[in-house]
């Protein structure tokens, strides 16, 4: 025992945790094992709902009514892509899937372009009222979209944008801008002053500085914003529910009509929901780092 205790004592300065006997170390080792098990269980809890949806979407209607999705784990023969084939063959759903792109892509591009321009002015061009504009933008970060639904619906109705993809896009642009400007302005102000001043000394116009100096440096921030904004619009239900008509509806709105008969429609709904998730999941897995940064910065939305 003494030998062990001596060894421990020798270990102490190295590990930086003095006054730890064999027992404490054993407990901490065991504790670590418990932590591993608990966290593994938590991870399983987080995965099961998604796996359940995926497996339900890969079983046909009769299989889903007869038994739970978990039975497929012992009967893999039940797996089929038939639901996906049916869904893609369904004109309404497929059109709504495409609509989601037609809405999300322009809404993202416009927000990124407008916000980078505005952020450059707020970060690097001195003008009176700059502080006030910035504060208003920060205030608008948490603006509930409900405040604008009725007035904008009226406005769009008057100019013929109600029920069109353009209308949905515009609304998303408006409510995407505050966060986008906030994020990019913060990043732009972090660019070393010397870099901008040197360009000004060389007689570069603001436009050239923006294009040649700021944008290249800001690529990571713009990437985070692009991904965040794209997923935000892609995942929207409420805006499209109000502003889109049947022909311009994105997939969330199109599937919503199926909710009424949830029990009998589970094959179709799970498939549709998973189809709508494929793009976000792919974007998330490929660009995790940027997405996580975007969410952390833009969580206040």
């Amino acid at each position: 025992m003494t030998a062990v205790a001596d060894e421990v004592r020798i270990d102490v300065p190295v590990s930086g945790t003095p006054r730890r006997g064999v027992l404490t170390r054993l407990v901490s080792r065991l504790g670590n094992g418990c932590v591993q098990v608990v966290l593994a269980l938590v991870a399983v809890f987080w995965l099961v709902p998604v796996v359940g949806l995926l497996l339900a979407s890969l079983r046909d209607e009769s299989a889903n009514t007869a038994s739970g999705w978990w039975t497929v784990l012992t009967k893999p023969a039940e797996l089929t892509l038939a639901n996906y084939a049916d869904l893609v063959a369904d004109k309404t759903v497929w059109q709504s899937f495409l609509n989601t792109f037609y809405i999300a892509v322009p809404a993202t591009v416009l927000v990124v372009v407008m916000a980078s321009l505005a952020s450059y002015a707020l970060a690097w061009i001195e003008f009176p009222g700059r502080e006030a504009v910035t504060v208003v933008v920060v205030g608008l970060l948490v603006m509930p979209i409900q405040v604008a639904l009725i007035p904008v619906a009226k406005l769009f109705g008057a100019v013929g944008l109600f029920g069109t993809i353009a209308g949905v896009v515009l609304f998303h642009v408006a409510f995407g801008l505050p966060f986008a400007i906030f994020l990019l302005r913060n990043f732009f102000t972090g660019i070393p002053r010397d870099l901008i001043e040197a360009a000004r000394m060389d007689g570069a116009t603001e436009w050239v500085i923006f294009q040649r100096v700021v944008l290249p440096v800001a690529k990571p921030a713009i990437a985070s914003l692009t991904i965040f904004q794209f997923l935000w619009v892609w995942n929207d239900l409420l805006v499209a529910l109000v502003f889109a008509d049947q022909d311009s509806a994105p997939i969330t709105v199109a599937l919503r009509a199926q909710l009424r008969q949830f029990g009998t429609n589970i094959d179709m709904l799970s498939t549709g929901a998973f189809l709508s998730m494929i793009v976000p999941l792919a974007v998330f897995l490929v660009f995790q780092k940027y997405f996580v940064q975007g969410v952390l910065a833009g969580s206040t939305k």
Binding site: Q36, V38, I125, P128, V133, S276
Partner: protein, 436 residues
Amino acid sequence: MMTGKRSFRANVDAAPGRSPRQAIPFLLPALVVLAALVLYPLVFSVIRSFFDASGDEFVGVRNYVDTFTDTRTLTAFRNNVIWVVVAPAAVTGLGLVLAVLTERIRWATAFRLVLFMPMAISLFASGVIFRLVYAENPEEGVVNAAVVGVHDVFSPASQYPGARPRDGYAATEAGYASIRPAEAGDTISVPLIGYPPQDVPAQALPASPPTAGEGELRGLLWLDVSLGGRAGTVDPTERGLPGITVEAVRDGTVVGRTTTGDDGRFTFPDLGAGEVTVRLAEENFALPFRGLTWLGSTLITPVIISSWIWIMTGFAITFIAAGLSAIPRDALEAARVDGATEWQVFRRVTIPLLSPVLLVVFVTLVINVLKIFELVFVIAPGSVQGEANVLALQMWQVSFGTGGDQGAGSALAVILFLLVAPAMLFNIRRFRRERS
């Protein structure tokens, strides 16, 4: 916006050689969109909330008075309060614990990735996911499947759910009791119905009535199939029902208990003198436990909150973990050197140093909760949506759903705005402090 306009005219205090005018082309597109589609609507909504449904007649604060007296809206308020009190604290606490724990494992990145994933998918999809998770049918919803599984371990399912005697027996709480009394020396035959023949256990033997025995009460329980046989009589193809618990009751106390054999026969060997009531115990026929009605009106809000916790915990963990990694290791080590236990280090050092981060996470979650819409819209079935109602959903219902009253809808929108306004000030103050 006034200040923005002024900036376009004045160009006095600009940097040398730089005119503030140059800001105009950069700012204009974003400011026009923000002014037209965010700021103007805010003003419009406030004004609109003082007019009636048609928008023609000024009604003062009547929309607000109606809002605070309408039962649907009051339910929505109540639910929003429940959400704000329970959900953000739960997620912040869970996020803190998990963020601290992930510091002790090697696969922390993978773990956070898994928990962050729900943030990437739509609330609509999450809603569908949880509607499936909590589906009432245990052959569909995994939660009820688990609940039923656990329940059946502790109180196993009955052998013959739904089966019942054809006639001559009264249903009581303890089981089916014979209406006519019996005594030792009798034989009784009880035809059972209401059970599918194909579900009869394989070991069941063909049924035949027992012969009377001296001093014994004997009997037979068999499945009386009416198709291809006569009701109430033992047909050659019919089988006895094994494993049924039969009780003999005299004056309210159980004096004998036995179980039917493979041929469906049972025997009470020594009942003594006097009449007894024969009772088929309830446990033989109890309908299987089918789990809980998660999506019913009582549990719906907790269920939706649980799905929101599933979505937001990853965000809290990641945010808090970022804060944790910024805590100086020296502070923690110093406490440990002073002999503090891990719990004391956590309680006295980690949490105080982390409190600004925790506050930001908490405020962020509160804002998110106040605007909750999609989850309630998707998870709550139409019939219980009133019970699960929240302000954002009520606003949509009133203005665009069944209501069609944009005056009342505007009032709700303004209320929502006022609820979020403190968070706006919080953000602005934090922004100003970070700059100075």
